[in-house]
Structures are given as structure tokens and as C-alpha cells.
Symmetry: C2
Subunit: 353 residues, 2 copies
């Protein structure tokens, strides 16, 4: 007789049309399954020539490890989970984000799984699910809060992750963030350069970390460039466009009306413009406005609004690189990045003329 029992496998030809497995390679090379497995991972106890032979055959027949097999045996899922609020939909920042992430994952064995949740409910839900079921090797979250229970939980349980946005908990973890402080500061600079002195900020919801970043930049700008703040806290960029417009129309009609506006979101800017116009005023004339934008639309449709571009696709790429780095054990402090606002030249009505 030949081999004993299980690895006798190598002596049996693999079924025909089926997808190749280690067994197939073992049969073709005459080696044991174990050897093939170890050869493919370049283990030190396999001969150089054997490795070469195995690699060649594997490539030839298009071997790809069975994910379920690996996952069952090792627990490695090769999955990155993108945790999204279903509501995170305004102005669709999700698309470029997903594209950015997949651009990076394309060169790796990782797949991207989208895990949604209703933000009105338990934000820990999806995290718990991933922890309980071992659904992913790494997680990307957004809408980060200064004290974010998700970060605490994932850190405790050693689940690699990265946040889109920073925290303030003394936990060093991977993140990518847009420099919202800088954005607001530069926005104020732009407005004061145009002689605006009574400025208002359409801010992020107060529970998110970048709320304070943006406020800080705004206020630092006011001080440095000599302007005053007009209070406008009833609504924030999470509110509906209608709510923002109505609130802002009211403000613009009041004696307190600002002459300069910083908008923390592109879609918010749309509502603000509507509010301004409802109040019978005009952007670029009665007021100036700077908005953070994730795309070109505002610039095309309302060139009178000054825009600072936030590259979400880049963010996706950075986030993907960071989670993978975290999974691979790189120190978290090397996996942090901040991207700078890009002030956009106003679009000329007709560049060719």
C-alpha cells in the first residue's frame, strides 16, 4: 500500500471540472497536502526546488485557496467591514468612499462587506455582531465621537479597526481625518479677505468629534482675522435640508443677519443658499459663503460659493490602508493621517473664451 489514510488523497486524481484545491496540487506534484500548503506559504522547512515546483503548478491550474477552509481553520476571514449608518446618505459620501476602499483592497485578498445599521438605534450593534460572529478581520467606522464606545469595545477586544474621524479618549488608534479645523480657519480667512465681519457657521452635530474641530478653527479664525460670530445652533448639517433652509431664512431676515457663511457640508450649503434666496438676498452680493464639498457640483452650479474640497475617495484609500496596517500589527500611531482642505479656484464660466 501507499500512503496511510487521509493523505492517500494525494494518490487519488481530483474530480474533473472541480475547482483545484491543495489536494489537486498534491496529486499533480506527488507531494503531500501538508507539503503543498507549507510550500505555498513559503515555510522554511520546505526545499527551494519543491516550493518552485508547487508554485508553478498552482499558478498553472489557477489555484486559489478556499476562503471557507481557511476561515474555518484559522479564523481569518479576509473581510473588511465598512460600518455605515443608513442615514449617512445625504450627499452620498458613501460612493467615493467605497470606491477608495476597494481600490486598495483590490490588490489584497480582502473583500469589502458593507454592514449597515440604523443610527437611531444601537451603534454598537454591528460591532457586537462582528465580534460575536468573527465576521471580519478589520472594521472601518465613521461618525466618530469624542468618547466613542465602539472604539473602546474594539480596542478591548483587540479587533483591528480604523476610524474616519478622531476621538479624545487617550486611546491611540488608527484614523483618517479631514482637517476640519484648518478648513474652518481658512474659510474665515477667505470671508474676512472679502470684508465680511459677521460670520456664521453651519456646524456638524455636536456629538461628533469634528464638531469641536470645526468650531475651534472657526473661532480661531474670527480672532486672528477680526470678525464676530453670529449664533446659529438650532440646526446642524445632520438636519433636513428643509429644516436648515427655514432656520436660515429666518436668520437672514433678522437684524442679526450675517454677511459671511461657513458651511460644514455641501448639501447643507444648498439649503443655506435656498434660505438666503428665500429671504430675498443673494450669495456673492449680500453675503459670501465658503463650503466644504465632496464633489464639484456646487462649484458648477453656484460658482459664487467658495469651496474647499474634501477628497472622500482619498479618505477611503487611507482608511483601507490603515485597517490593513492595523491587522498586520503595525503600530497604530503610524496609521494616522489628516488630509488638508483643497481650496478650489472658482470655476470660470467659460474657460475657452
Amino acid at each position: 500500500m501507499d500512503g496511510k489514510t487521509k493523505n492517500r488523497a494525494a494518490a487519488v486524481p481530483p474530480p474533473d471540472g472541480a475547482r483545484p484545491t491543495l489536494k489537486t496540487i498534491a496529486f499533480m506534484t506527488g507531494l503531500g497536502i501538508t507539503t503543498v500548503s507549507r510550500a505555498l506559504k513559503d515555510a522554511p522547512d520546505i526545499g527551494a526546488e519543491t516550493k518552485e515546483r508547487v508554485r508553478l503548478v498552482a499558478k498553472q491550474i489557477g489555484y486559489q485557496p478556499n476562503r471557507a477552509g481557511v476561515r474555518l481553520r484559522t479564523g481569518k476571514t479576509n473581510v473588511i467591514s465598512l460600518v455605515l449608518t443608513l442615514e449617512e446618505e445625504i450627499m452620498g459620501i458613501t460612493s467615493p468612499m467605497v470606491v477608495g476602499i476597494t481600490e486598495i483592497l483590490a490588490g489584497t485578498p480582502y473583500h469589502l462587506v458593507v454592514t449597515p445599521y440604523s443610527s437611531t438605534k444601537d451603534p454598537l450593534g454591528p460591532i457586537r455582531y462582528i465580534l460575536d460572529t468573527g465576521a471580519a478581520d478589520g472594521v472601518i467606522i465613521s461618525r466618530t465621537e469624542p468618547h466613542d464606545p465602539r472604539v473602546t469595545l474594539m480596542t478591548e477586544r483587540h479587533l483591528p479597526f480604523v476610524t474616519h474621524g478622531r476621538t479624545e479618549m487617550g486611546i491611540v488608534h488608527p484614523f483618517h481625518d479631514f482637517d476640519n479645523e484648518r478648513f474652518a480657519y481658512e474659510a474665515v480667512r477667505r470671508l474676512t479677505e472679502r470684508g465680511r465681519r459677521r460670520l456664521v457657521l453651519l456646524e456638524p452635530p455636536p456629538n461628533l468629534t469634528f464638531h469641536s474641530h470645526m468650531r475651534t478653527g472657526f473661532e480661531r479664525g474670527l480672532k486672528d482675522f477680526g470678525a464676530e460670530a453670529v449664533s446659529f445652533h438650532h440646526v446642524n448639517i445632520d438636519h433636513s435640508l428643509v429644516a436648515i433652509r427655514d432656520a436660515f431664512e429666518q436668520l437672514m431676515r433678522s437684524v442679526d443677519a450675517p454677511d459671511g457663511i461657513v458651511s460644514g457640508s455641501g448639501s447643507g450649503a444648498i439649503a443655506l443658499i435656498a434660505g438666503i434666496e428665500s429671504a430675498g438676498k443673494k450669495v456673492g452680493q449680500d453675503v459670501d459663503m465658503v463650503s466644504k464639498v465632496p464633489s464639484d457640483f456646487l462649484r458648477w452650479l453656484r460658482p459664487e460659493v467658495m469651496t474647499m474640497y474634501e477628497d472622500i475617495r482619498l479618505a477611503g484609500r487611507e482608511l483601507a490602508k490603515a485597517v490593513i496596517g492595523h491587522i498586520e500589527g503595525k503600530p497604530p500611531e503610524t496609521l494616522q493621517s489628516l488630509s488638508q482642505p483643497e481650496f478650489q479656484r472658482p470655476m470660470s464660466k467659460s474657460p475657452k473664451v
Copy 2:
């Protein structure tokens, strides 16, 4: 001695903090692993009381089947793959689509995996990958062509799928589509109602199926409502905004300038508007325009443009339901749907005043 070898498992207490498996339940109930497995799938050869007991315990300890185990043994992945072009990014239709899909998947064991590809390269790539590796139970594709090789391949290989858009190959398969013919027809109606007679269509790329749908509706409208077409085929909605604008500016400056425009995409409309304005004309005055839109932005920023809403989130939901139906073996002809354009009332500048 007790049980023989493998199922002796049931006699061994499960490790402490670990996630519960069938073994855990088997131990707790004193049953065999097989019995537990069959009880949970409501097999006919298990006693009613036993099933009840098993279900209770399973629920109590929060048992969730190990996906890798199931997948390895049965081949069922519980994965739906959304195949996207990386370029499909203009105007971010991906976001609401993903949201719609996940809304449906949330109530099922399915996960959503995003599989991107570079449309300039081989569109069959991701399909082949899924077929070769058994990466998903079902697939959602878009940018459907009249003779779409992906549809042929998946049909041949019995991989359940659904297309966003229709085909013309005589293959009956699940799809969801927006009624682009109706859209264009109604758009022409609107324009002629305003007295416009020289109409132009910014159309989809000619290789996609809905190109002809939209053209057909457009031409039928021209005939029924008495208007003539202005030729404009140099660019389509897949081209860059700059290309569209420049081409359209030229058209608007020519003696052939149209007085009515149908735009097959929201972002395209933005470029058209820019082109019109570069040529020194004005929408709502010199020309009227109807555009298909996936969001509210255009309506907010350019209320003079008439818009017809395409509900992408709904499309996501329909697509998800259809793939799942296909996976479950429902006949394809019952998994086809067409959504109608929703003409939107122009936004009043200030509804409260």
C-alpha cells in the same frame, strides 16, 4: 464508555468564553450534534418537543451558525455580490443603491460584498472570479448591455443574478429597471407644453441598453407632441462634465441651437447648464430643460430645471429582493420590475411665505 468517537463531543463541556456551536447546544440538551443541526432546520424526523427545546436553548445562548462551516460543507456563502465599475461614480448613485440593498438584506442571512472592476478592462473579470471561487450566491450587476456577455455567462453557469437594466437576448432573467422610455417621452411632453419645438437629448452611452429606451421615448414624444430633434451625439452622460459643457456650449452658439433639452442624467444636466450659460443663454428663458435626477440637489439649486426623480434606493431594494428570489428558485419572470419616473413639482422658493 458513552458515545463512540466524534459525537462524544456532546459529552464534553464546551470551552468557556467561546462562541456557541452546535456542540454547545448538543452538550446542553444532551442530544447529538446531528440532532441539533436537524432540529434547527426543522427537519421532519425530529420530535416536536425536541425541536422546541433545541430552539429555546439556541436562542438563549445566542447561537448563530458559523458561516465558514456552512460554506465549507454546503457551498452556500450567504453572500450577495454587488459588481460595480469604479467609474460608476459620477453623481454617486452607488450610495443610495447600497443603502437600498442593505435594507433588504438586513432581514436575511445575506451579507453584501462590493466587487469592483475597472470598466475599461474586462467586465467579465469579476463574474469569472465569483464563478471560479464560488464567492457569492447571487450577483447584482448594472450598466447592462443589450447583448451582455455577463448575463450569458451567469445564465449558463446557473449563477443567480439580477441586472439593473434590461437586456435583449431572449433570455428571461430577473431585472429592475427605470422606465427611461417613459421618462424621455414625458420630458418631451413637458417641453412641448411650454412651446419648445427644437429638442435635444443628452443620452446614455450607446452600448448600454437604456440608450435605445431613452431614444425611443424621446422620438416617440417628438412625433406625438410635434417637435423636431436637434442632433447631439458627440457626447453622452458618461463623458466628463467638462466635455459635455464644451460640446454643448458650441451647440448653443450655433444656428442649430435647441430650445428644449432632455438630460439623461443629473450630473450631465449640470454640465449642460454650464454650457448654456457659457453661451450667454439662460435656462427657463432661452431654453427649457428636463432632467432625470437621483437626488434633490438640482431642484434646490436650479428650480428652473424640471426634474424627474429616479429612486435609486428603491432600485436597490428591488434588486436585492430579485436576486434573493432568484436564489430561492422563484421563476425569473416574476422577478422583473420597472419603476416609473416621478415628476417633481418645482420647488417653491419659500413655501412658508
